[in-house]
Symmetry: C2
Subunit: 165 residues, 2 copies
């Protein structure tokens, strides 16, 4: 890093930033839209999927943990969890260690639905990973991780605690 450096390296100039903004927007949009049809068949929306996803990811997490992940209000989450509960996709049990807390888990049918939805995401994302190559995947993760404020990263890393490998 001791050579004369242009004010900004090439990859930091406007076109490269705009490219990132656009690809992030379109990539994210297409991935999320890819499961909308499956969701609406069940009478659910994207908000329901996000809750299902994180409950599947961290079975037994509490309402306040889920609130922190989703960064929405208690009201909004309440509606979503109510719907999922009515449809018997999610169950809540009282945490014996702190009886104020509710531990959220998926029922069998909730788990089956989440697995179906995940399978659709998996197909798209694994195709993208394969086409782009293993190296690219590392870069993809690295840039996205840097977009997340430091204060949030811990919460997100905890999601991966149980992953083997």
């Amino acid at each position: 890093m001791a050579a004369p450096i242009p004010a900004s390296p090439l990859f930091l100039r406007e076109p490269e930033i705009r490219r990132g903004v656009e690809l992030l927007y379109f990539g994210y949009s297409h991935l999320t839209r890819s499961i909308d049809e499956q969701l609406s068949k069940q009478g659910l929306g994207r908000a329901h999927h996000r809750a299902l996803y994180f409950i599947a990811r961290k079975p037994g997490l509490s309402v306040s943990e889920l609130l922190a992940l989703l960064a929405i209000t208690k009201q909004s989450l309440g509606r979503v969890l109510g719907d999922l509960s009515d449809r018997e996709l999610v169950e809540t049990t009282t945490d014996p260690k702190d009886r104020r807390r509710r531990m959220l888990t998926l029922t069998d049918s909730g788990a089956a639905l989440e697995a179906d939805l995940f399978e659709a995401l998996r197909r798209r994302l694994s195709t993208a990973y394969s086409e782009a190559g293993q190296e690219a995947v590392g870069g993809f993760w690295a840039v996205l991780e840097e977009l997340i404020p430091l204060s949030e990263r811990g919460r997100i890393q905890k999601l991966r605690e149980g992953d083997r490998s």
Copy 2:
């Protein structure tokens, strides 16, 4: 090295797919939320920003081109463009080559606003690019591009037509 090969390479297994899903969600969320405050100061929302952004990106594009990029309905876009027009951020002029088409452009104040918003995005994304490194940026682009259906990629590549270098 003739060991039994797992069905999928390591980077295609469930934890790696979930990691991508989560980073994409959180990265996208944080980037978009980072300009919400600036927007709401102007009485605008994210939908307005998306329109501003693409009009800034391709000055003179038509309503139907913008519709195709945003993938929303004419009604939804109509409301947004109406707001932007009322606030004198966007202007429409008739395309002389096909007098049915309206060419969308930003007014001076529209361009100034878009530049402010872009500057906030630029700061976050260029920090992320720098921290992750140039190689990572290439991977980030590559994976995202693969998430976009082939049928859409042309439209998106056209956005970059005017970029120098």
